[in-house]
């Protein structure tokens, strides 16, 4: 009985805070994406010979995120039937966009005007073992070459 209460309250906590968290994070992501729209990023290596590149430097941005308790339970239920696990989709979407934004921020600090050859890498970082509530989280790293073009 006690276990059930703990379980349900964790689900409730996760649902309430996780939702609020996600909503505010998405809002901040959208705002910052709008603000940094002028910084061009692409996945090509090619450099136009017409550009007068005065400086080039590696920039990175990374973030480690995890899902809330409610979503974890929802995802494990989804596992029974298969199909889209939207709980994890939003997690990865948020993490990637955040990592790219941080990379852009670093490029902006260097005075760069664009970032080329952007690579996005995702790795899953498993936490402490021993207890079955191991910490599951993913890390997303975005890296690219920032160019200062005059």
């Amino acid at each position: 009985m006690f276990d059930l209460i703990v379980f349900l309250s964790l689900i409730l906590l996760g649902y309430v805070f996780g939702r609020a968290n996600e909503a505010s994070h998405y809002k901040s992501i959208r705002n910052r994406e709008r603000a940094s729209r002028r910084m061009e990023i692409n996945c090509n290596k090619a450099i136009d010979p017409a550009w007068n590149v005065v400086a080039a430097s590696l920039v990175t941005g990374s973030t480690a995120v995890s899902v809330d308790y409610f979503k974890r339970v929802a995802a494990s239920l989804r596992n029974l039937f298969g199909g889209r696990v939207s709980a994890y989709e939003t997690l990865l979407d948020r993490a990637r966009r955040e990592a790219v934004l941080r990379m852009k921020e670093e490029a902006r600090k260097l005075g760069a005007t664009m970032v080329i050859n952007v690579r996005i890498e995702t790795s899953s970082i498993s936490g402490a073992k021993g207890n079955n509530q191991s910490i599951a989280c993913v890390e997303v790293l975005a890296s690219g070459t920032a160019l200062k073009i005059r």
Partner: protein, 104 residues
């Protein structure tokens, strides 16, 4: 030391190649961070402690790579790549590698 992740340094000419240079570090999280991350796992969202730890370790891996390149007499590293692998539960390896070159 200039680092890029494309094959050359835009706007500069490469005069000499020194081959592969790499740097790596294996880090684990300390108990306090694990504990906080465990709490954070209930409500979800970014795990700031982990993000910081990974950033720190990546910088360490890059600085080791740069030290190796300097030892060879290079002044830039091109085509830099990163890789992260979790070695065991609680420990992650961060690896950075690239090609050391000298620019004119």
């Amino acid at each position: 030391m200039i680092l890029t992740n494309v094959e050359n340094v835009p706007g500069k000419q490469i005069v000499e190649h020194f081959g592969l240079v790499s740097g790596s570090t294996v880090r684990s999280k300390h108990f306090g961070r694990d504990f906080m991350a465990g709490l954070k796992n209930i409500v979800g969202g970014e795990l700031k402690g982990y993000t910081e730890l990974l950033e720190e370790s990546r910088r360490e891996a890059v600085s080791r790579m740069v030290a190796m390149a300097k030892g060879l007499g290079a002044n830039a590293v091109v085509n830099v790549r990163f890789s992260t692998s979790s070695v065991a539960a609680g420990a992650a390896e961060l690896y950075a590698y690239g090609t050391a070159v000298r620019l004119e």
